[in-house]
Amino acid sequence: MSKMTLKTEGETHLVVTRRFAAPPEAVYRAHTDPKLIQKWMLGPDGWTMPVCISEAKPGGKIRYEWANGKGEGFYLTGEYLELEPYRRIVHVERMYLPDPTPDNHVETRFDAEGTDTLMTMRMILPDAETRAAMLATGMEKGMEASYGRLEGMI
């Protein structure tokens, strides 16, 4: 319905905005309910998501697997960090291509605008604060693996 915007913000952020003709509750549910996610988070035409795990609670797991029906596919794993129902989701994710990319830290906000919702998705690269938060939520193992790999490259 409305045009999406995508722009860089500061030195480590990428911001996407999009307006939807539905209340925040519906847009939030479409971002957290695996049965709904499978219907739209597919990128270019020709792809499906045969596996979708979305445990919408702090520390809950995320796993999306995409396939194009020609034997090609890739997947993403992640963890939910914070959920404020119908308003805000904070999660981390990494893509496997097939080697994992460093963690992408994503904050998605849903703001009511009349009967519509303005969604703002902010992708943040790992920083000291995120690392501390991850350690606090007991995800140090995954993070350690990422940073260990990074250090291994030095």
Partner: protein, 113 residues
């Protein structure tokens, strides 16, 4: 050609390297300047710069003891391509989400009746 394309895409698969390109799009920068916003060590940043240089996405200038990096023309094009790809994928997804939301709205109305 294929090898070049592979090098470009694996260089861009890493969000830190994309962010480095985004930073260099604003002007040249040294390793020290690049390391700061990412809170990474200089050797870690140097390693990313090496990958980007090998893929032909950035170039190094010699200025006394400084070695500022800047975007190569191929880097600008690759970044534009990557952003266009991401934009296209997201736009397609959100157009589908519009339809999912319409269906959800109908179901909600059905329940209330």
């Amino acid at each position: 050609m294929n090898a070049d394309l592979d090098a470009t895409f694996s260089a861009l698969a890493d969000p830190t390297r994309r962010a480095i390109l985004a930073r260099l799009a604003k002007g040249e920068a040294t390793v020290t300047e690049l390391a700061k916003p990412f809170e990474m060590t200089q050797p870690a940043i140097s390693q990313h710069l090496k990958v980007l240089e090998a893929a032909g996405l950035i170039v190094c200038r010699i200025d006394g003891t400084r070695r500022p990096r800047r975007l190569a023309k191929a880097g600008i094009e690759a970044m534009d391509q990557w952003l266009a790809m991401l934009r296209k994928g997201l736009e397609k997804s959100y157009d589908r989400l519009d339809n999912v939301l319409v269906t959800m709205g109908h179901q909600q109305k059905g329940k209330m009746q």
